[in-house]
Amino acid sequence: MRWLSDHVLSQLQASVQLPDLAGTRYRAVRFLARGGMGTVWLAEDAVLGRAVALKILELDTASGELAARLSREAMVLAHLEHPGIVPIHDAGTLPDGKPFYCMKYVQGQSLDQSLPPTLPERLRLLQRIAEPLAFAHSRGIVHRDLKPGNIMVGAFGEVLIMDWGLAKITKITEDALHKPDTSLSIVAEHRPWPSPTPSDEVPPTAHGRILGTPGYMSPEQARGDSGLIDERTDVYALGAILRFMMTVKLPKKEASRAFNLRPLNAISEKAMTADPVQRYSSVQELSADVGRYLQGDPIVAYQEGVIERALRLYARHRTAVVLVLAYLIMRALFILFSRQ
């Protein structure tokens, strides 16, 4: 029996874990992540010579429902072409029968791993997160699992929203996902993979099934009330992300600055109201209110008192106020001395 050194042993353990990509254009490089639906691998596209990420369903644990969900996720991504949504390149079935799809390999860190150091930067980041969400909502797609772990921030501050596995299609738009002539053309070179059955065309989120992540899940999601899920569900999650951004420790220098957080608290509270009707009706509205806060303007979610308004205006025009006050004081002093 051949003796295997520690080095060889770890190589072998790594190699048996590699997915079987024979016959495809991809070569597995290393494991990236494990999610509820399977694993994500860094691979090399041998044709284009670029790094890609492969999401592979582990058939050992997969039910037909999971395969259909992966299929739907791929279809959703294929129809959401936006700089802030991870693009999908390919989809199919591996030689061992496992469904997969290929997407852009995103280099960066998730939001829960790297928050910008200052509050204004975090808020501007939140606005950038809202943009691809708004786009998805305009196409009738709700993410339903928005959380810091599913938002990648690149080296240049670019945002990519990942993991659309739980996305709900709230309406069939004109270029609907399941037109026969478009849905599987991209996978022609591979074996047929689980295409959504007609019952899957509007996602089969049965009433009573709870999908999402605690802490970022809206009350209607937690109840499994799928009929109430729409873009306001993502508004809730975005409000929770705002709260996360505000509560995760800021560097000392930032924390000592006199930010009035009451308006921001009001924004997140409005976004996270239990009744969807009381929330912002869209992520753009939430983003606009955050923008007003950044500009020093009054926000929709918060009724400020007279003193607060004065303080806000002072904070916004501090230098001008100080200069004018200095001028008035100087004038008063001149008048005083001239009288003497």
């Binding site: 051949r2 048996v16 694993t39």
Partner: protein, 250 residues
């Protein structure tokens, strides 16, 4: 190895050594003990050397003793798969036997280990000295070391099984590619590229990719087969398969 040459070790109804070791059929029982011995003698030897600081000769005697006790005292009869892993159970038996023997000062040279193939204790001793020389790769405790040796033996047996399988299927080149790339026999040299392997074996790079994929697929199957033999229950097998062949975040 005689076992592998027979193909599947156990009848389809017997999925693990435990079932076979408890069989009424003496041949089946003998095969099961053989399989356990083949699998465990090296981890046992190295473990007692480290855990109980036995010298090489005492460790050799104890190892032989242990496997004889395994047969004569029917250790496996008391094993309950629902209560823990087979290897944890065996390790506990090792510790208990050692303590009993130390207490009774009753350790006799009992004779050879009951396995059909030769047991090379010198080889085990050499491997042990290599581990000692590389403390950075040493596990934290003797228990961890036992675990690691268990995995090492599992993979080594699977490699042998793969080689036999490829030989019998006329796909020796597949195994040689696997040995050259994944077994990384060029331990202290740069890992060969697909292109260099293709040139060496007079193949295209695509063929190298496909042959390696085949070998890895078969190797994975061999590992799973060996694992199934050496686990006490289906549940344990699934757990171990997930742990060993599922994904470990780096």
């Amino acid at each position: 190895m005689a076992l592998e040459a027979q193909g599947d070790v156990f009848p389809a109804t017997r999925y693990s050594v435990i079932s076979a070791a408890r069989s009424g059929d003496p041949t089946e029982r003998s095969q099961a003990i053989d399989a356990i011995t083949t699998f465990y003698w090296k981890p046992v030897y190295k473990y007692v050397r480290l855990r109980w600081s036995l010298d090489a000769e005492d460790a050799r005697d104890f190892t032989q003793d242990f496997f004889l006790h395994l047969i004569e005292k029917d250790f496996l009869e008391s094993y309950d798969p629902s209560k823990g892993r087979l290897r944890t159970f065996l390790r506990t038996c090792i510790d208990r036997l050692f303590l009993n023997q130390s207490r009774d000062a009753h350790r006799l040279k009992r004779g050879g280990v009951p396995a059909r193939q030769a047991i090379d204790f010198d080889e085990a001793e050499r491997e042990l000295s290599q581990m000692v020389q590389q403390p950075s790769s040493s596990p934290a405790s003797p228990e961890d070391y036992f675990e690691k040796e268990w995995v090492r033996t599992l993979f080594a047996l699977a490699v042998e099984q793969l080689r036999l399988h490829c030989e019998s299927a006329g796909k020796l080149v597949h195994f040689e590619l696997f040995a050259g790339y994944d077994l990384y026999l060029y331990d202290h040299q740069p890992k060969p590229s697909y292109a260099s392997l293709a040139a060496k074996f007079n193949l295209s790079v695509t063929d190298v990719t496909n042959y390696l994929a085949f070998a890895r697929r078969e190797f994975r199957r061999c590992v799973l087969q060996k694992l199934r033999e050496m686990t006490g229950s289906e549940e344990e097998f699934r757990r171990e398969a997930q742990s060993l062949l599922g994904v470990q975040p780096k």
